[in-house]
């Protein structure tokens, strides 16, 4: 374990980048980053073939620290940039890390359409129930009744369930993990990257500085320990009654389906279009475009 940690520190972190990072002490983001790096290390991918993208927010800073092809994009739009990268270079392994507000508020449209399209990307969504970087405003996953800097009287709206949203929108692989279950998380991330098609891992994480403090959920230790108590594996949950599941949430694989992947289907389109273009070349001469084709 220690040996592996040393390999990861040496191999994958950007030592020329001015550390320390921007995250608060006890933040779950570091645990997610560790699980991600161990997961990728286990897949034997070369650093040149991995793209790590992010949007805006605390999670958005993660790629800066890691020695892959990294891109820190605009708020909520990481998946759109990844779509362009993947279509231009289908051979790359493209992973994006987002926050809950990033992925499901401002980026909600892109998120559901990436899932519907079933493009071969992996989305890791760190869900800490708040906008941490901007000071703790309510996000699409802030629980009903919770306090935040924009819901001081208690939140009047309902929360999204990110993983379930991804299942409904059509993702090939959907899993949920927590920052308490770091080994399990690494496994989920690895499975997601290995999946061909759109894969999502929602990670329940702690922002004790904003969400936790305002809702008296304790510090990092208390919050992270609560995930141990409240997370139930999907298989086990299936055998539990609704009463027993009150206040709990499921972790594990929520969906794993095989279906056509848009990135691969487009390769078929190219083959077909090329066949057609030979057939109709005289037709095209007429519209003047033929001459500029290879």
């Amino acid at each position: 374990m220690l040996e592996r940690a040393e390999i990861i520190r040496k191999e994958y972190l950007r030592h020329d980048k001015k550390f320390p990072h921007v995250w608060c002490p006890g933040c779950g983001n570091g645990i997610v980053m560790g699980a991600l790096l161990r997961g990728i290390h286990g897949l034997n991918l070369s650093k040149d073939e991995v793209v790590l993208a992010s949007g805006i927010g605390c999670s958005g800073r993660m790629p800066t620290y890691i020695d892959f092809n990294t891109i820190h994009t605009t708020h909520g739009r990481a998946l759109t940039f990844c779509t362009g990268i993947k279509l231009a270079k289908p051979e790359l392994t493209v992973i994006t890390v987002m926050g809950d507000g990033d992925a499901t508020a401002i980026g909600g449209n892109h998120f559901i359409h990436a899932a519907r399209r079933n493009i071969d990307l992996t989305a890791i969504i760190i869900n800490n129930s708040t906008y941490g970087m901007t000071g703790g405003q309510y996000s699409p996953t802030t629980p009903f009744g919770s306090k935040s800097t924009t819901s001081v009287y208690g939140h009047v709206e309902h929360a999204f369930s990110i993983a379930e949203l991804a299942v409904t929108a059509g993702a090939s692989f959907v899993a949920r993990g927590t920052v308490y279950h770091a080994v399990h998380l690494e496994e989920m991330i690895q499975q997601a990257i290995r999946t061909r098609g759109f894969s999502v891992v929602e990670v329940i994480s702690n922002c004790h500085v904003q969400h936790g403090r305002r809702n008296k959920l304790g510090g990092a230790v208390e919050m992270i320990t609560s995930y141990k108590e409240n997370a139930v594996l999907v298989g086990k949950a299936a055998k539990m009654s609704p009463e027993e599941l009150e206040g709990k949430f499921t972790i594990g694989v929520l969906a794993n389906v095989k279906k056509p992947i848009s990135t691969e289907q487009y390769q078929r389109v190219i083959v077909e279009a090329r066949k057609n273009s030979h057939k109709n070349s005289s037709e095209k001469e007429k519209n003047g475009i033929k001459r500029y084709e290879e």
Partner: protein, 380 residues
Amino acid sequence: MTMAEQQKRVLLQGNEAIVAGALAAGCRFFAGYPITPASEISELLSLKLPELGGTFIQMEDEIASMGAVIGASLAGTKSMTATSGPGFSLMQENIGYACITEAPCVIVNVMRGGPSTGLPTSPSQGDVQMARWGTHGDHPIIVLAVSSVSDCFSVTVKAFNLSEKYRSPVIILSDEVVAHTREAVALPDADQIRIIDRITPGVPPEWYTPYADNNRGVPDMAAIGDGYRHHITGLIHDDRGYPTQVSQEVEKFYKRIHEKISKGFQEIQITKTYLMEDAELFVIAYGSVARSALKAVRDARDQGVKAGLLQLITLFPFPRKCVDIYLRQCRAVIVPEMNMGQISREVSRVNQANCRIVKHNRIDGHLISPDEILKHLATV
């Protein structure tokens, strides 16, 4: 015209000529969202790109389209999108990202009346200042205007070349009239078109500094996935691409991205002149209005008025030097526009010779006719 030239003539719509120009320039990626009067560009490219091994994708909105275009460009593929006013508004956020990360890309805006849903889909030139200043923050950008089907081809090729050479988004402003007019045009042979590609690093990856300055001010560009792992961010960054707030580094960054464009003014600022040698008064026009202006100038000459036309292909960076020369030569300038005066304010800004500036603005969704311009030329 020789027989061979005549045989090469084809009947094309402005939007189709933009597609032909883009493919000729090497565009192999397009992402867009349906909007009139730009949709023909999407439709035709969805057919043509896969034939060339390129990729077309229809995204969920225009913000997404712009994101995908930048992603593909950063991965090494020449990319473009096309839209109209409402979609162009949505794209602004990511156009700023293309400016700060210096991602080459081409954005076609087939203008219609605005703001908001506005006047679909009558011609307009209402997005001129927005093309320059639409995204927030200080940024350089290149804006070109097309006035004919033949322009649509050549200016699109030029747009790709400039975007690759200067690592900058280039906006092509078309309008509904140019987009949907069909004209017979003779397109040049592929071997007669000059194509410029971005300069890739000539050093091994371990020596590569992604945003290091050179005498051009345009850093060599490695594609994502080519072995030159580096960081790309929309934050102000240092030479290595990492976020910085160190004031010297911040200032250095802003200066370089502005200077790389000003160093290229001579090449970037494209204008055309007609009968300007002995002109005593002239018209400054761009887009479809330049066509009416040319007819008006010819008619004025027939009446013995020494009129000329300065047609702007490049709107921004505004060709101030060229405009200044003619403002000094002539006693008056007519600036007809299908907006409330978005280029005439630029003309006023550079007018140090006290040349009389006559604005002519039409915003009812109709073309400006040659007669309207002629009236000014005959009476000024």
